[in-house]
Amino acid sequence: MTGSLGRRRPNMDTHLPGFAQPLFRGLPVIDDAWAGVRETARKQAFAAREPGPREESWRFTDLGALYRGEFDAILVPPAAVLEVPELPEAGHRLVFVDGHLIPGLSRPAEGGGLEVRPVSGADAHPGDPIPGTLVPASRDLFAALNLARLATAALVHVRRGCAAPAPVHLVFLYSTAAHATFPRVMVRLEPGASCSIVEEHHARTGQAHLCVPVTELELGNGAQLTYTRVLRQGAGGFSLGYCEAVLGREAQLDVCTVSADGRLTRLDLGVRFAGPGARVGLDGLAKVDGNQVADTHSRLIHGAPNCRSRQLHKCVAAGAGRVVFNGAIRVEHGAQQTDAAQQSRSLLLSPRARVDAKPQLEIFADDVKCAHGATVGQLDDEQLFYLRARGLAAPLARELLTYAFAAEVLRRVPVASLRRRLERELLAHTPG
């Protein structure tokens, strides 16, 4: 921290925290359709304060280690050939390495009812979503950095009434130490469209690096989206992610997020019901070990009547790992007949592990059902004994019960091969 007192904002537009300074050194100025967006965001980034422990939403997650680092941008894609996580069910796919699209590994779709393509300020179509519409630069420093350093985004656009025949796979790989990447995914489902999207982030390096992935999801009336987000940022990875969705009338959104083993993984997940009769399901699993931190801040805004939301967030903390969950639900004035249910359950596998879980309800309508619950516990001794009494060694029994705990979320991963892969990778002993 700069040592300033109170909420005073550094009053110079040249202020930028050290960790991000290399990002703007020698940055070429490109005059394209997104130049204005980038420039405004750059100004916002220079004016924004570093999120720190004095802000409520960062109270439990210490960014000190991130601020002590320095992260540069990778201006040309690395030549290394990386293993891409395959998804046999997937149809179209975009693969990015260190923020750069790798055409040889991608299978875009252009024209027709489904478009899956990279988009930049140089080749954006007039009807394409404008980056920053749902996660604007004004949000905070990291959101501003993402837009200021915006290069190529991934676009998924499904036209009115069309259904994507197979899951769309968006893969982001990270291979270079001490670099920063700012992926952006923009999804637009026109009324009545439907699609399943799997977004994966995998570090192929254990070294320190920074990733700020931003995803914007627009669902028109009656649109249906299944969005699965996997984060494996590696032992040195800092991931500060945002995902914002807005739902039209009677739209349906199912989000499943799974994160494991990043040094620091933060997800700000926002959903806004903008039309009546819509439905959302949020399932999350965060797993930490060692000194890892996983922080999920979700914010559901019931801005229209008759909408239903269901949320289940599960955390598994081993070692000296730390998990944070803050689940805000806001029911706005007039959002009658809202039905919102939120559950957070955390499993502590070690006495040094720690969890801070908190629901946060703001209700301004009177005819509302809003249920929430948070539990923090350890493995159940009676279950453990039952398994051991059937011959399972204690460590295996513990792993099996940890698996069982996570299974409730993993079973909701909508793509079978991904579900099996995650079970295999996250849980050493998966019963066959």
Partner: protein, 256 residues
């Protein structure tokens, strides 16, 4: 009848839970080929005995010894006891949401098989095997796809315990109230499962409150437990006598 090899020998067992002594000098000997029944008032320590024998970590043994085929049972971890051939059918089987019954049963089967040098089965082979056993117990194969005991009715849980016993083929089976909560058909099926296990080389310890199970699985000995001790041992007729007279005449004698 000629007594077989001594499988389980309990001598002067004292055990406590949460600082409260429950077992207060218990003696019991099970030989190969025998079926024993333990009856006794609620709270007399029957389940405590079962769990101490199976190695539940919440119980502390303060005195006494237990030999299982000549080896010190109390020195073994619960999983090791199971692999050596000890089986506990729980009075209250535990629900484990998130673990499918099929994977659990196969994991248990293969672990115990590996422990005794037997052949392990892959998922397909095991599926055939377990379905065969389920047929004998008139269990719907649908229970394989459900999670371990989750949402099972009381009787279904008990049947699942007997299924596990049938799969693991133990040397000593301790069945804690295998008959409680069963309807008439289920009682017949569970009894059939126990009788099918019964052989010259193994022994069964039935904890029960009622004579009706013992009509189907006729015991060689009936023990009465009270306040953490066996206070009377007799032939099968003792169970009939308990049914008509209750425990007062015995516990009164013990107190005297």
């Amino acid at each position: 009848m000629s007594a077989g090899e001594v499988l389980l020998e309990v001598r002067g067992l004292h055990a406590s839970v949460a600082g409260v002594e429950i077992l207060k000098g218990l003696d019991l000997r099970l030989c190969a080929g025998e079926v024993h029944a333990i009856m006794g008032p609620n709270g007399s320590g029957k389940s405590t005995l079962s769990k101490v024998l199976a190695g539940h970590p919440s119980y502390t043994v303060s005195a006494g010894e237990v030999a299982f085929r000549g080896i010190d049972l109390l020195a073994l971890e619960p999983e090791e006891r199971a692999r050596q051939g000890l089986f506990l059918g729980f009075q209250y089987p535990v629900e484990i949401p998130g673990v499918s019954n099929a994977s659990f049963l196969r994991l248990a089967y293969n672990t115990v098989q590996a422990g005794r040098g037997g052949e392990e089965l892959d998922p397909l082979e095991f599926d055939d095997f377990v379905r065969g056993r389920m047929q004998l117990l008139e269990m719907d194969p649908g229970f394989l796809d459900r999670d371990v005991n989750e949402g099972f009715s009381g009787g279904e849980k008990k049947r699942n315990e007997i299924l596990q016993m049938a799969l693991l083929d133990p040397l000593v089976a301790i069945l804690d109230e295998a008959d409680s909560g069963l309807d008439i058909d289920a009682l017949r099926i569970v009894s059939k499962g126990i009788s099918a296990l019964r052989a010259q080389h193994n022994a069964v310890l039935l904890v029960t409150h009622y004579q009706r199970l013992l009509d189907h699985v006729v015991p060689d000995f009936v023990h009465v437990m009270s306040e953490g001790r066996i206070i009377r041992t007799g032939p099968r007729e003792l169970a009939l006598e308990l049914e008509s007279r209750g425990y007062d005449w015995l516990t009164g004698a013990a107190a005297a």
